[in-house]
Symmetry: C2
Subunit: 197 residues, 2 copies
Amino acid sequence: MLELKDYISERFDLSDEVKKFTESISCIRNLKKGNKLITQNQLVDKTYFVLDGCLRSFVYDINGKEHTLQFALKDHWISDYIAIFSNEKSTQEVECIADSVVLEFSIEDGIESIFLSYPEIESLHRKNLERVIVSLQKRVLNQLQMSSIERYNLFLKQHKDIEKYALNYHIASYLGITQQSLSRIRAENFKKSDFLT
Amino acid sequence: MLELKDYISERFDLSDEVKKFTESISCIRNLKKGNKLITQNQLVDKTYFVLDGCLRSFVYDINGKEHTLQFALKDHWISDYIAIFSNEKSTQEVECIADSVVLEFSIEDGIESIFLSYPEIESLHRKNLERVIVSLQKRVLNQLQMSSIERYNLFLKQHKDIEKYALNYHIASYLGITQQSLSRIRAENFKKSDFLT
């Protein structure tokens, strides 16, 4: 069975010194479907890297309705980054929507102090932020210019096997459509695929 | 009149060595309304910091319709960051929607080589990326949960004096609403303000 240090070595290209530090602030957590890692209005001092399963971050609106910001599948990061980067309490919740295994990283001393001590981690983090910005800008642009059926099909491509884990309202609230629209889109897709076979 | 080095010293907290380097890759540009700094399908090797005026980035969809990704007012950065961070040609255009003054930074040698030589710039850039992610995540969440009138009013708060510069279709295509909806929202706002006075 793989140990913490194996997971870290496999996934992140780090010098020996930084690898040791990274191990010292992380642990493997085996989680059950339904477990919540972050709830609203808490201090956020942890960030999660998914090894297996699926997590979801979402907010509640004033009517208590949920809106999904992100699904994190294997090899993706998740936390409440608005809280971490703004140094504020959480507005998002992060929950497991399947039994999952994550690497949990504690950033209790603040990310700034980690970057000061280990510039190598700042570089990795910066590259990751750039990828996140590309993905968020594309999501904003797609929301502006694509039809809901185009966005749904792109979403499925970008989130392999997501339909094994996510409930209808998770996906609908990520795409910004009603559950009825989602059902209609699925039915249309089914008809098309049926026609093609 | 302020010179390049004054603008840089005023706005960025840099060591003398990095200040000198930053000056060496930048210049002040006085631009006219309508000037395009980036067009589709070009190599993007410049990034712009607005000193005065207003710039806009947008894409064309397959029907030639424009969709606004960003407005950059004073003290904001703009470029095609999807192109820069993905090392691809531009998909966006960047244009001046008012006479503007910008600091233009050349990143012809690639941003990676700048960060390798000047880790201080990587830190500044990383902090900026974190702010951009907070703002983009909030925009995605607002798009999911707010009404168009709420989004319009928030947009005005976040973009001081934008209505001096932006045309109706710029704003409508940023908010993802039609120009007719924008006119209706403005009329409703006007009625409310009239009622309150």
